[in-house]
């Protein structure tokens, strides 16, 4: 698993990572906050532990819930003294979703992000998205926004099923 910026992974920091591995995203309860790339770092300095988390979208309503869930999991595992810091920079990107996270998204029926998000080019969004149900590439976007800010709505021409796509940002 990719764990960016893990500072000198001590045994305690390793335990914290293991605890965080069990904290699921409230909207996508099969993927952990670690696999979504929301947890950026577990820092240990002078015996003090700090968990660095980054929000996905600025207005994501799940952000507060995620922070509360992480706090609760840390407390329950005996890391009441561990601090939590919110870091905006570098800005979260879907590139930080781990390979395991991508597999879990797919198994949950959500197509993982593909390629890079378009900026100024109109009608040139994520052109080829693979259907998470049947694997077909013959799909089309129905709506730029799905059930949450991070997803758009697609349909598959092969199996005729609609699905959510995790947008690239």
């Amino acid at each position: 698993m990719v764990r960016p910026e893990t500072s000198k992974n001590s045994a305690r920091a390793g335990e914290v990572w293991a605890v965080l591995d069990q904290v699921m995203d409230p909207e996508i309860p099969v993927v952990s906050v670690v696999d979504l790339g929301i947890v950026r770092e577990v820092r240990e300095e002078g015996g003090a532990l700090d968990v660095i988390v980054t929000p996905t979208y600025t207005g994501c309503p799940a952000t507060k819930q995620i922070e509360a869930d992480i706090r609760q999991a840390l407390d329950k595992a005996g890391f009441e003294e561990a601090g939590m810091q919110i870091s905006l920079a570098p800005a979260w990107t879907t590139d930080w979703i781990t390979p395991r996270g991508r597999e879990q998204l797919k198994a949950f029926g959500i197509a993982p992000p593909e390629g890079k998000a378009g900026k100024r080019a109109l009608f040139a969004g994520d052109a080829n998205v693979t259907c998470p149900h049947c694997g077909s590439r013959d799909t089309e976007q129905i709506s730029e926004f799905g059930s949450t800010a991070c997803k758009s709505l697609w349909r598959c021409h092969s199996c005729r099923e609609p699905f959510d796509y995790f947008k690239c940002i």
Partner: protein
């Protein structure tokens, strides 16, 4: 004006514009033309309000008088708001809302992209989040501008009317005053006035695809960024602020 005052003022301008844009978008919740658009506009609103939270939260820390983003959003009056006036114009029809969001997002995306290099670490960090979101709004609303402009006779007419009505207000986004200059000199803020040419080229290209004609530059109202607003802002604030003002200690 001290550096702290100028930075506080700058954060209010950025935060208030995002907040008022967000509040106008939120007025579409449950009222948009289709359920997909309802979700889209509500998501746009969430992005704008999220950005406002960050800017106003930082404004409160810069000011150092114990005001947080909630206090700044809910307990200031219209003349204390520093948003550009384009944000406060009533939401109008769907065409008006998407044309406004497109014009603003095209500006904001370019502005935040420059602000990534700000010498102020907090503003640079917020820009990193906001820039990605504004790029998405610009694309989504740009596609709708083309669909409406190059759509039916009625959608074309409505999109053109929206563009005509909004045009005078776009210029304020590119104005700079002493506060901006102080921030630009310190490398804290990009110079908005230098972005207009690039913005105009992009807008022109999209409007051409939308078969919409760019209005002539005529009157250019400004003053929102120093607290002089249209009559529309007070009504917006009355609705947005009624709950925290009526029940000051109410918790969600």
């Amino acid at each position: 004006m001290s550096k702290v005052d100028a930075l506080f003022e700058t954060c209010l301008r950025l935060g208030d514009t995002a907040l008022v844009m967000g509040q106008r978008l939120a007025e579409w919740s449950s009222k948009a033309p289709t359920v997909e658009l309802d979700i889209a506009l509500s998501n746009h609103a969430l992005d704008m309000i999220g950005q406002a939270q960050l800017f106003l939260g930082y404004a409160g820390r810069v000011e150092g008088k114990g005001r947080d983003e909630e206090a700044l959003a809910y307990h200031r009056q219209d003349f204390e708001f520093r948003n550009a006036m384009i944000a406060e114009l009533p939401k109008g029809d769907f065409a008006f809302t998407v044309v406004r969001q497109f014009l603003f997002a095209s500006f904001a995306e370019a502005f935040y992209e420059r602000m990534l290099a700000s010498t102020d670490a907090d503003l640079a960090a917020i820009a990193g989040k906001a820039e990605k979101e504004m790029a998405y709004h610009m694309r989504h609303c740009g596609e709708w501008v083309v669909r409406l402009g190059d759509g039916t006779e009625e959608s074309h007419q409505r999109a053109q009317a929206a563009l005509d009505e909004l045009w005078p207000y776009v210029h304020e986004l590119f104005t700079t005053d002493d506060v901006d200059q102080a921030m630009i000199e310190k490398g804290i803020l990009p110079d908005a006035s230098t972005l207009k040419e690039e913005w105009l080229a992009h807008v022109k290209a999209v409007m051409a695809r939308a078969t919409l004609s760019l209005p002539e530059d005529d009157w250019m109202p400004s003053g929102g960024r120093t607290g002089q607003h249209t009559e529309h802002l007070a009504y917006l604030l009355a609705e947005m602020q009624v709950l925290p003002r009526t029940y000051p200690d109410a918790k969600w």
